[in-house]
C-alpha cells in the first residue's frame, strides 16, 4: 500500500521532490541529536556552556552541509 503511494508520487511529481523531503528528515534528525546532546551537557555542567555552544554550532554547520549536498543533487535532478 505504501509502496503504491510511493510509486504514484515518483511517477507524477518526480523523485526530486521525494528526495528533498528525505533530506529534510535526515537534517532534522541529525541536528536534533546534536541539539539534544548539547542541551544535556550544558545542563550537566553550566561552566562549559560557551564551549559546548561553539562546538554545537560548528557541528551543526557540518551536518547541514551534508544535507545541502543532497538538496543540490535534488535541484539538479528536478
Amino acid at each position: 500500500m505504501l509502496g503504491m503511494i510511493l510509486l504514484e508520487i515518483l511517477s507524477t511529481k518526480g523523485a526530486a521532490a521525494l528526495g528533498a523531503g528525505l533530506v529534510a528528515v535526515g537534517a532534522g534528525m541529525g541536528l536534533g541529536k546534536i541539539g539534544s546532546a548539547a542541551m544535556d551537557s550544558m545542563a550537566r555542567q553550566p561552566e562549559s556552556i560557551s564551549k559546548v555552544q561553539t562546538a554545537m554550532i560548528i557541528i551543526g554547520a557540518l551536518v547541514e552541509g551534508v544535507s545541502l549536498f543532497a538538496v543540490v543533487v535534488c535541484l539538479l535532478a528536478s
Binding site: I57, I58, A61, L62, E64, G65, L68, F69, V71, V72
Partner: protein, 324 residues
C-alpha cells in the same frame, strides 16, 4: 508553472539569484528600473566589442552581431554571436555578479584599511578602540586567536592574511546579499569554488613532507593497508574543497530562495485568496520573512566562520611534522 495572471515564482527566484548583464532593481508597471552594465566581449570573427548592455533592450534586440540567447537555448541568458549561435571567445563583461564582487572588494578594502590606519596613528598606550574599529578588532582577534592560531600554531603569520581575508570577504558578501536588490555573490558556485580552490592550492603547495607521506604512504599503518589508504586519502584531498564549495554555496542560495519564496506568498495569495485572505497571509509572510532574515544573518556569520575554521584546520594538518 505559470497560471494566467499569477506570479511565476520559479522564474522570479532564478531571476533574483542568477547573473545578468544589467542590474535589475524593480518593475514599475511595465517599465523595469534597471541599470545597464558594460559588456566587454572579444569575438574571433568581429574583434573587440565594448558597449553598454542597454543596447540589448533586455534581450529583445541584437547589437553589433551579438545578442542575449533566449530562454530554452543552451546558453540561455548569456551573450552569443548571432552569426554562429555560439559563445564568443572571450566574454569579460561586467555582469551583476562581477559588479557586486567589485563593490564588495572596495567595501572590504575600505573597512580593513580604514581600521588598520587607526592603529598606525596610536601607540601601544592608547585606550581600547570603540565603535567600528573596536568591532573590527573584536572580530579579528576572535578569529585570529580561537581559529587561526589554534589550528595553525607554527608559521601563523604566513597564512593569517589569507584566512582573515576569506573570513571577512565571505561574511561581508553574505550580508550584502541580504539587501534587497543586491547581487547574489556567495550563492554563485563559481565564486565559492574559487575560494575553495585557494584553500586547496595553499594547503597542498605548503604541505610538508610529513603531510604528503601521511597521505600517500602512511608509515603508521600496516603495510598491506597503505595502498588502500593512499587511494582514500587522495580522494579526500579533493572532497575537502568540494565540500567547502557546496556547503557555502547551498547554504546561501537556499537562504535566498527561501526568503524569496516566503515573500512571493504575498503575491500568490493576491490571486488565490483575494481580499482578507491576502492581507492575513501577507502579515504572516512578512513576519516569517523577518524571522528568516535574522536567521540568514546568523547563517552568514556561521558559514564564514566554518569556512575559515575548516580552511585553517586543513592548513594546520598540512603542516604536520614527524612525531619524534
Amino acid at each position: 508553472m505559470k497560471e494566467a495572471g499569477q506570479l511565476d515564482v520559479t522564474a522570479m527566484i532564478f531571476d533574483h539569484v542568477g547573473d545578468s548583464y544589467y542590474w535589475h532593481l524593480t518593475d514599475i508597471g511595465e517599465t523595469s528600473v534597471s541599470a545597464p552594465l558594460p559588456v566587454l566581449v572579444y569575438s574571433e570573427h568581429t574583434g573587440w566589442h565594448a558597449f553598454s548592455s542597454s543596447h540589448f533592450h533586455h534581450g529583445h534586440e541584437a547589437y553589433e552581431g551579438l545578442a542575449i540567447a533566449p530562454e530554452g537555448s543552451a546558453y540561455a541568458g548569456k551573450i552569443i554571436e548571432v552569426a554562429t549561435g555560439e559563445r564568443p571567445l572571450f566574454d569579460a563583461s561586467i555582469t551583476k555578479n562581477v559588479a557586486g564582487l567589485l563593490i564588495a572588494s572596495v567595501l572590504l578594502c575600505l573597512m580593513v584599511i580604514g581600521a588598520a590606519r587607526w592603529y598606525r596613528k596610536k601607540d601601544v598606550t592608547a585606550p581600547v578602540p570603540k565603535g567600528f574599529v573596536g568591532t573590527m578588532e573584536m572580530m579579528v582577534s576572535y578569529i585570529y586567536n580561537d581559529v587561526i592560531k589554534a589550528n595553525v600554531p607554527e608559521h601563523t603569520a604566513r597564512y593569517t592574511p589569507y584566512l582573515l581575508t576569506v573570513f571577512f570577504f565571505i561574511f561581508l558578501t553574505n550580508l550584502l546579499g541580504l539587501i534587497p536588490g543586491s547581487a547574489n555573490i556567495t550563492g554563485n558556485i563559481a565564486v565559492t569554488v574559487t575560494l575553495a580552490l585557494f584553500t586547496f592550492v595553499i594547503t597542498n603547495i605548503f604541505g610538508t613532507k610529513a603531510y604528503w607521506q601521511e597521505v600517500f604512504w602512511n608509515k603508521e599503518l600496516p603495510a598491506w593497508l597503505r595502498p588502500l589508504m593512499a587511494v582514500i586519502e587522495f580522494i579526500s584531498l579533493f572532497t575537502k574543497p568540494f565540500s567547502l564549495t557546496i556547503r557555502l554555496f547551498a547554504n546561501i542560495l537556499a537562504g535566498h530562495c527561501a526568503l524569496l519564496g516566503v515573500i512571493s506568498v504575498v503575491f500568490l495569495t493576491a490571486v488565490s485568496m483575494p481580499g482578507g485572505g491576502n492581507y492575513g497571509m501577507s502579515v504572516v509572510s512578512v513576519l516569517l520573512a523577518i524571522f528568516l532574515d535574522m536567521l540568514e544573518v546568523l547563517v552568514a556569520f556561521i558559514q564564514a566562520f566554518v569556512f575559515t575554521m575548516l580552511s585553517s584546520i586543513y592548513i594546520g594538518l598540512s603542516q604536520a611534522h614527524h612525531h619524534e
